[in-house]
């Protein structure tokens, strides 16, 4: 880097709607609610906003082509610079990088970043839309389903490190229990490892309780430049590291047991934040968990432990809220819900609230100053990372 990063950018407000399998609100209404909440939480009005970044995953879910255009006004972007970031599942965090750069480059002082997803309009089931993420010529004729690719990766991961399903199920148990304290959660529950292992097999080794549900929901955060942030709040949460990268599209040519994309995205963010030992220097983590094994997979990718060691940490309770390295204190996507882009958005909101000690019953026990939000997406392919500090 030849040019030092001069402008400090902070997150100053956040808001989210309930996450449910079906919400009555239309896409526009959901987005409005999330943005209004975020503005209210920061004591701002729409007049104070200079730019807006929207983020939402496949258009096929709500059945609107160029869906970013459908919510411009509701997101607060009317007559303002507005863009939609779209990187599949990583959108929830990668859009924050766009919003950060809008403020860091000096184009704006206040930028809203709203993530939303409305999966319920897709019939017969949102799952079916996922068929269209696969290669049009080499894979779709096989009738491939999204759960297949997760099952293939999970099996490879389990085989490589000799991990048992019982250990992976502990993540589902932890996250769903954590979600009991999240007011917006879709499927909070007190379950046991046996419940997970006895749930219907979807695509072995994936069973129903290993999977996060499809959801409708929206969340928003507000970025502000240093001067403005200090006027709005006494506890701005500073963005100190960003990272995003992808592996090759050809997922069937790679050994899936280790998420190199998470490693490199983490490296970018750690390097920008001058973090050398993430396990010690970061206090709280929100790691993308569309399936329970993914939390473990990504923990290893982000260098929070050695390859194959994540299950041990979970077994020992290290990743619990009162543990040494709390992961997904919100309840993660498993418990709160997985409206693709808004899933990542929820994680950013959670880190924001954790660092400001506003997470109530979900507040982790240890003292927190640095937090990491991570999102994953596409064909076992991409990760985005955001590191914040209070």
């Amino acid at each position: 880097m030849h040019f030092p990063i001069k402008r400090r950018v902070a997150v100053v407000g956040a808001g989210m709607t309930l996450y449910r399998r079906r919400l009555q609100e239309t896409t526009k209404e959901m987005v409005f609610h999330a943005v209004k909440m975020a503005l209210d939480s920061a004591g701002l009005t729409i007049k104070d906003v200079d730019a807006v970044v929207g983020g939402s995953a496949p258009d096929l879910f709500d059945g609107i082509h160029m869906k970013g255009e459908n919510v411009i006004t509701e997101a607060g972007g009317a007559l303002k610079p507005y863009l939609r970031n779209f990187t599949g599942g990583t959108t929830g965090v990668s859009q924050q990088i766009n919003a950060w750069s809008i403020v860091a480059s000096g184009l704006a002082d206040v930028c809203i970043s709203v993530s939303w997803e409305k999966m319920s309009p897709c019939h017969p089931h949102p799952q079916y839309a996922f068929w269209t993420i696969f290669d049009r010529i080499i894979e779709r004729p096989l009738g491939v389903n999204l759960v297949w690719i997760f099952a293939l990766e999970m099996n490879r991961y389990m085989h490589k490190h000799n991990i048992k399903k019982e250990d992976i199920a502990l993540v589902a148990v932890k996250n769903k229990a954590n979600a009991l304290d999240h007011p917006c959660a879709q499927l909070p529950a007190k379950i046991t490892v046996e419940d997970v292992l006895n749930s219907p097999v979807m695509c072995w080794p994936v069973q129903r309780l290993d999977i996060s549900p499809p959801s409708d929901g929206a969340s928003a955060v507000i970025f502000a430049s240093e001067d403005v942030a200090k006027k709005i709040t006494d506890t701005p949460v500073w963005v100190i590291g960003v990272g995003r990268c992808e592996d090759t599209t050809y997922w069937m040519n790679r050994d899936l047991y280790f998420p190199y994309y998470a490693y490199y995205a983490g490296q970018q963010a750690y390097s920008m934040a001058h973090i050398y030992n993430p396990r010690k220097e970061i206090d709280v983590f929100e790691i993308y968990d569309p399936f329970d094994y993914k939390e473990l997979h990504h923990m290893e990718g982000l260098r929070l432990c050695g390859k194959g060691e994540a299950p041990k940490l979970t077994r020992e309770g290290v990743t619990q809220r009162d543990g040494d390295m709390p992961v997904n204190p919100s309840g993660g996507l498993m418990g709160v819900g997985n409206p693709i882009a808004a899933g990542g958005g929820m994680k950013v909101c959670e880190i924001f609230w954790q660092l400001r000690k506003e997470a109530g019953k979900r507040q982790v026990k240890k003292d927190v100053t640095v937090g990491l939000a991570h999102a994953w997406g596409e064909l076992m392919q991409g990760s985005s990372v955001l590191i914040m500090k209070v």
Partner: protein, 400 residues
């Protein structure tokens, strides 16, 4: 919004590459992108994407390709595997601006932006355009035939027809003046070796073509084309490593008007006006007509070129039509507009239109435009619109 003045860190375009533009291509779209990327990196002094490029921005919209998550298929062919990357679903110029902002903020030194069109693969573009309308308030205007499951009703270009009608009424511009834009751009395209639709038309040809949605005629609308454009950017400290002719980014702006199609300003291009103001302020331009030499502006429809020129304050409200008639905007005119042929002459590349405009400006500024070179090329402006039924656009000003 106050808007930013000046750029703290100068950014240059150090390489451009393209493939197409043709009505139909047989390569797979990733092969098309690879071809454009190879040319762009070669143009940028042989920059190695695996080593020298810090970040990549892709511009794509799922349903133009028929893939959910078009970003999945982005990294391989541009050399972005394991490198910082991001994708925006917006106009090509907005992707360009995203890359500029990442460089401005200091986190990247070099960046690549890519956008493409493979619209020949979409079997019914009209159904796709209807799919972009609001499902609650606009789509119910089209009845769905229960047997064929296809929507039955007006052509989606009716929105352009409505806008054109309002614009003509508000400004007194005539259909003949709009037709003159078509004639000019198709003739310019004859001089452009990579344009898809160069031809010698007359104003009568345009006016007598089939009515699409009054007063819009068939030849008033640009035809589709396949193609890809890749642009390489670098911060000033490293730009000279890759090129002897850096083209500097003077200013940029982007804006969206509203998500409510019925509420947008039908007669004026508000998003262009605001984007232009942002860009002029950043570039320190007070009199665009004098301080900018030529422009590549959106001409997805003929009237759009005139509407945009007025919104950009290059001509006064209602004057653009007159100046086109007087050949002021011809290649050898006082203020050339779309010397490359624009979308009308080169083909409508949808998301890639913005980068197509930037390509046109960069070639002019480098004196590499060959037969369609304008004589005075110091400062050029590129402007684009996302197309029907959106109200989003962007502007960037480049100079030597």
């Amino acid at each position: 919004m106050e808007g930013k003045i000046g750029l703290e860190r100068k950014i240059a375009v150090v390489g451009v590459g393209w493939s197409g533009f043709k009505p139909f291509t047989t390569e797979e779209y990733r092969e098309l992108i690879f071809e454009a990327a190879v040319k762009a990196y070669e143009d940028a002094g042989g920059i190695n994407p695996r080593k020298d490029v810090d970040g990549f921005i892709g511009v794509a919209e799922d349903l133009w390709e028929g893939i959910s998550i078009a970003d999945e298929y982005y990294p391989d062919q541009v050399g972005a595997v394991f490198k910082p990357e991001n994708s925006v679903s917006a106009d090509g110029i907005v992707g360009f601006i995203s890359a500029c902002m990442m460089i401005q903020s200091g986190v990247w030194d070099t960046a690549v932006v890519e956008a493409h069109s493979k619209i020949s693969e979409v079997l019914s573009v009209n159904d796709l355009l209807l799919f972009a309308l609001d499902p609650v308030f606009n789509r119910p205007l089209w009845n769905v035939d229960p047997k064929t499951k296809k929507p039955v009703g007006g052509h989606p270009y009716m929105f352009a027809g409505l806008e054109m009608n309002r614009y003509l009424a508000e400004t007194g511009t005539t259909v003949e003046q709009c037709a003159k834009v078509v004639v000019k751009n198709y003739r310019n395209a004859l001089k452009n070796p990579f344009a898809a639709y160069g031809s010698n038309l007359t104003v009568e040809d345009v006016i007598c073509s089939k009515v699409v949605s009054h007063p819009l005629k068939e030849l008033d609308a640009s035809k589709f084309a396949d193609g890809c454009v890749v642009v390489v950017l670098a911060g000033e400290e490293v730009a000279k490593k890759y090129t002897d002719t850096p083209i500097w980014v003077k200013g940029y702006g982007f804006c969206s008007e509203t998500s409510w199609l019925e509420c947008h300003d039908w007669g004026d291009s508000v998003y262009t006006r605001i984007s232009g103001e942002m860009a002029y302020k950043m570039a320190g331009i007070k009199n665009p007509r004098k301080e900018v030499n030529f422009a590549e502006v959106d001409d997805t429809f003929s009237y759009k070129e005139l509407q945009n020129l007025e919104a950009l304050k290059i001509f006064g409200r209602g004057e653009a039509g007159k100046f086109v008639e007087e050949n002021l905007t011809a290649i050898d005119g006082d203020f050339p507009v779309n010397p490359s042929g624009g979308s009308l002459g080169q083909g409508n590349l949808f998301c890639a239109n913005g980068l197509q405009k930037i390509l046109g400006v960069v070639l002019q500024l480098r004196n590499e435009a060959g037969k369609f070179q304008v004589s005075k090329a110091e400062v050029g402006l590129a402007q684009a619109w996302r197309g029907i039924p959106t109200t989003s656009g962007a502007v960037t000003i480049l100079g030597r």
